[in-house]
Symmetry: D3
Subunit: 129 residues, 6 copies
């Protein structure tokens, strides 16, 4: 009963146009299952792709840093698919094993200290107001 990925051959012209833009932008032969699933709602497919393309483009932060931030959020939320796909993207952008290790160390510490703050009910310092 769950939805199945919509393959390129079965896609509407509007969906196919987004797929083609993803493939051209990323120079990949096919799009990931993520896009093939949200294609069930063409408006969400188009909006999400356009937003992601804008947000992940080089800017004040380079793409490698952006992909690592994406992995940090995804690991915090426990999204296995998202960790895998953005870890792959980060590695393509130059992330080494050492960088991944430090990324995970920071993610772990942040999740730990976030809860120490919640549990000890730490109040904001005057200097931070």
């Amino acid at each position: 009963m769950p939805l199945s990925p919509i393959q390129h051959a079965d896609a509407s012209p509007a969906v196919r146009a987004v797929y083609d833009d993803i493939k051209a932008t990323r120079a990949v032969p096919d799009v990931n299952n993520f896009w093939k699933m949200i294609a069930h709602d063409p408006a969400t497919l188009k909006r999400t792709w356009e937003s992601l393309k804008e947000v992940m483009a080089p800017g004040a932060l380079d793409p490698l840093v952006k992909e690592m931030i994406f992995v940090a959020v995804s690991a915090t939320n426990g999204c296995s698919y998202c960790v895998r796909s953005h870890e792959a993207a980060a590695r393509r952008a130059g992330m080494t094993d050492a960088m991944f290790g430090e990324l995970m160390a920071v993610v772990g510490m942040a999740n730990e200290t976030n809860r120490l703050v919640f549990g000890y009910q730490v109040e904001l310092d005057e200097a931070l107001k």
Copy 2:
């Protein structure tokens, strides 16, 4: 009834030693409330500080990137204190308004797409296995 921050003057020698190391390492006149609260458990204070000092030190990733990752996790978890204190640290390490804006944009998109993956039950692509 809740616990109060332990000030330097009221701290045990063991706690004071950690406070002094924080102050020396960061070149600050006093430690934040975070440390003054977890000081109620001196073992946690010591372990957390030593871990944080090790994890946030320059390595394969520079301190600015590490602080931005910390902010990303803290914003994902809704830890207001943690966002403020690590945003301040990131700004001291060189984060501009433009960088903060892109950081937040990535955090927002990652949290959105994480849920699209969960909701559409996206299965892992062969290429990502």
Copy 3:
């Protein structure tokens, strides 16, 4: 070592009575694994079923809306089992593909803007107090 589902034939009379009420209320031939697992704690089985039956019944909100809210929470929490079972219930209650698509779009946007609020530390407007 993990627990296994308790089948009807192996259940105590108290557990069987709950199973029978679920089957009668929902007009299904068997109960889901969810119930067969929490049946290891008969008090939790009974309390959870009675609460769920009361909460999900038609009232000021119709069952379709309630099931979609359930899916929204489950997608936010990354509970795959819960998304699948309540998506199925929502579809039985009339949710179309278009409705599911909009549901996911809202869930995605809400998770994104929640983090923009956390990250930018937005203060409550006077008009909302």
Copy 4:
């Protein structure tokens, strides 16, 4: 040191154009602090507003249901600002106290049963695959 809301009078023409569209679309005299804060990143302001306008518009789901889903996600994530602002929007769209009560009841039950599923490690039923 934290950022302050950007008021209409201090906004760039690009930001002002978004503010004006929000005010016109919602028939409100001023925009909320949320928009005034993310305006520090005009690209995020524009993209978020356009996405939200598209996602929250009437479609297969009516605006009341969409606002209630937004509240459900925000309560799950503990975003106080988001709960308040979208609860207000839902009430303007017709949500009664009774509807809010049932919404919260479903949100509570979903968060509870999500964790029972995680804790008991419930496996997917054949019928749900």
Copy 5:
């Protein structure tokens, strides 16, 4: 516009009966704001109180352990109100500062290692299946 706590004098007989049972069970002169807020939905008030009374009662686990588990979950979710009220309950049940410190240390470590598992995509050991 937000809801206000319903005081005993303003409560319906059904709500008052729940308030009185809480006061008698806990030997307190008044109920907390939590109950006065969910009283806006009398069915949720009654169901939540009866569930909580059953769940938190002495059983295979003693009330102190149960209150500490409640604090652990609340700190993980960042629910400040819940941490405070259940920390108070745990202290009344005998939790010392040393026990609170160790509780928080475990909560912190669990939140950290949960994310290391998510980030490193650790697969289940044969022995744990």
Copy 6:
């Protein structure tokens, strides 16, 4: 492309020393995949093991209570691996089926009431300040 567990035979001396300490401390013939994965970052492996050994040791709270708190957090975060491994540890430390059932009941209720607090925007009682 994802990382693979580092087996004892393939580990560096520094990693092997940690593995050996885990095996000796826990009296187990091999370490879990968790350690074999984070071993890709030897500093994280060493720091996490030393922290965990300190935090989970008997103290003001006994190991059984600590393992149950670990399970409570892991179920709240939806970390399947963590639930399974720490449920196993809790059972080895004496957790019965009845205790596990009550643990889950508390975890469920806490997650439910946390969201009622968030949704109803409950304000802190004077007595709790």
